[in-house]
Symmetry: C2
Subunit: 385 residues, 2 copies
């Protein structure tokens, strides 16, 4: 397996981009990543996206985006794994280059959600769950996560406010990220006053939708060395695991078994331990998911995820910095793009380009993208060289 | 790049499977392929599908199918490239195993179209074209292909009936394939009497929809050799190319430039020429596409595709046998599954398991799956050992 590295990244701001189409948003991120890579084109493009077929009435995004950015004849595919589509596209690009099948690839995550009305988008998001046994029963995604959080509070005797630190950290970090959807810090009081959506999840526990795209260019490590001069970020681990699509089919719905599996594989591939990770961009679509991801990946004891937030271990100067550019909660969660935002944010950290929220000299950075209610979990570890 | 081979295949009949859900159809093909491989599970599953998000209100097919077939913790993704989703999933599986990232993978193509009413499915199929400049103007997929065929008749002075041989061959072959949607031969008279859909495309020029799934298990060649005894089909070429998503953006809309690109790459990878191909499962979604695919891939002169049908070169005993199990036209075209049906039908031929339509001792077999109106073309060459 050839070693691969990232030589260019690009992103758009996450916001309601009413004036731009899906291809304009994706194209902007792709062209920025190509520009930073000093490349005009790559051999393959992998587009991570969840809902364009229904939300934008446009499938076939591989050809669609390759055409738009002037890469006719490049190969192109659309990769989907619900909310983990971005990381799935990145992993696909890594495998394409690692296999030797191509010498350059771009992975772009994109979602254009504002083309669909609110009720319709809620229904489309539910296609990530089990259509027959969850969505058809009226369970929206926030409701599914509320059931999980409710059970967690019951089992481990936490109070709802114990989760506030996750949102406060994300918003504090997003205030320094010009690409974030929300750039104002929030306080404990605003968390406590936030409107309830699906008890116990309130508005400040839930990540916002948005339109956005993020992209990265990948080439084999030996070719990068020949190029010289560029800041090098190696992909040292790429792994994924699924779990049952329905949350109720899991013996322990408040333990992310697929995160445990994929993060263990990732640590083995990289030859490191959780203590070696300097920054962890996790999937805080809901604050309960941040806690569960920390636990299953070995950064917190089982049932003790909230403690990391309460004790301020998750801030940029803490033991395990998470959501350093705002996370899903405040940078925003354009579904299929999120996994790619995580990747490029870790690249920024490893290059020392994270500004006010820069973590001190990280060597390894990790991303974890979650599809569904924990049914598809993809972990990557990147390393600064 | 590790060499990879196919050790097991499975398929369902293409038909209107009203009584089965998408996961039951896909699961049937996957379990048959695993059974033939003497494996209980694989490390990765790649699901080729175009429209489940809108037609079945179910995305996230990687986790969904892995769960259903009892492969919890396997990694799983949904790969989409419109009508070439099946081949895209197969190519993804090939790259995953070739990269060394995993030692076993399954690729399954599935489409469950009967959940959607007719008008709605026509609109969903149009999401393979350019939403802004083709679909929104009212161009359905058959209309797009009719424009291409009309231009072809005009440029090269063929008569519509000159295309009859493609449909007659497909239906004659499907009569011997128990998995085919239509198993009755047709005559020149029934072709001539067929109802016009979009002039010049009549009912006998167009492939039928249907529900179905086909799957193949891939492992590294060296592991297969250790297993011993099994009939070996190597993947000796895998390549793909996109073209502009809109047909009108191409300088020459009656030449499949992406097919030329991907088939040339494939011949180079395999180190062979078109003359070495013993069987060619091409993408006869419409008879015009069969002609264009033969031309762009080097099996017919430019503008001379219909001659191959008229001169009976395409039948199982002919110079370049195509659609030997019925092709899209008569085996049926469950969109995202089609590319995988092509793969397993070539495997059947190379193993000598194609019954009445067996080609005489083929060594190399080729598949070509076309997404959109020629905007994503994926070519594979398999070899019997």
């Amino acid at each position: 397996m050839r070693e691969v590295a990232i030589i260019g990244i690009g992103q758009t701001k996450v916001e309601e981009q009413w004036d731009k189409s899906l291809r304009e948003i994706a194209g902007e991120a792709v062209l920025l990543a190509l520009q930073e890579s000093s490349l005009e084109r790559v051999e393959s493009i992998f587009v991570g996206n969840m809902m364009s077929g229904s939300a934008n009435r446009q499938q076939h995004l591989g050809s669609y985006i390759a055409d738009w950015v002037g890469m006719r004849f490049a190969e192109g595919y659309h990769i989907e794994a619900a909310c983990s589509s971005g990381a799935a596209a990145f992993r696909s690009a890594v495998m394409a280059v690692a296999s030797g099948s191509v010498d350059s690839a771009i992975s772009v995550g994109v979602e254009k959600m504002t083309d669909s009305p609110g009720a319709e988008i809620t229904s489309q998001l539910a296609t990530a769950s089990d259509a027959d046994w969850e969505a058809d029963m009226g369970l929206s995604f926030v409701a599914l996560n509320a059931l999980i959080m409710q059970r967690y509070l019951h089992e481990y005797h936490w109070q709802k406010d114990d989760f506030a630190g996750f949102s406060i950290n994300s918003h504090a970090n997003a205030a320094h990220n010009p690409f974030a959807r929300f750039q104002d810090p929030i306080s404990m009081i605003s968390y406590q006053k936030a409107a309830m959506i699906a008890d116990p999840i309130n508005l400040m526990d839930a990540s916002p939708m948005g339109d956005g795209a993020a992209a990265a260019v990948i080439i084999p490590l030996d070719l990068i060395k020949k190029r010289g001069g560029q800041k090098l970020v190696k992909v040292v681990a790429s792994s994924a695991a699924t779990d049952t699509i329905a949350a109720h089919s899991r013996r322990d719905p408040i333990w992310l078994a697929a995160a445990e599996s994929s993060s263990r594989q990732a640590f083995t591939q990289a030859g490191i331990n959780p203590e070696d990770i300097g920054v962890f961009e996790l999937h805080d679509a809901f604050s309960i998911m941040a806690a569960l991801s920390l636990e299953a990946s070995g950064f917190a004891e089982r049932g003790q995820g909230p403690r990391a937030a309460i004790e301020n271990q998750i801030c940029p100067k803490g033991r395990i910095p998470i959501s350093t550019r705002g996370g899903l909660k405040a940078r925003g969660h354009p579904v299929g793009a999120t996994g790619m935002y995580q990747i490029i944010e870790v690249v920024q950290q490893l290059r020392g380009e994270a500004g006010e929220t820069q973590v001190e000299r990280p060597i390894y950075g990790m991303t974890q993208n979650i599809g569904g209610s924990g049914s598809n979990i993809i972990t990557h570890i990147l390393k600064a060289e």
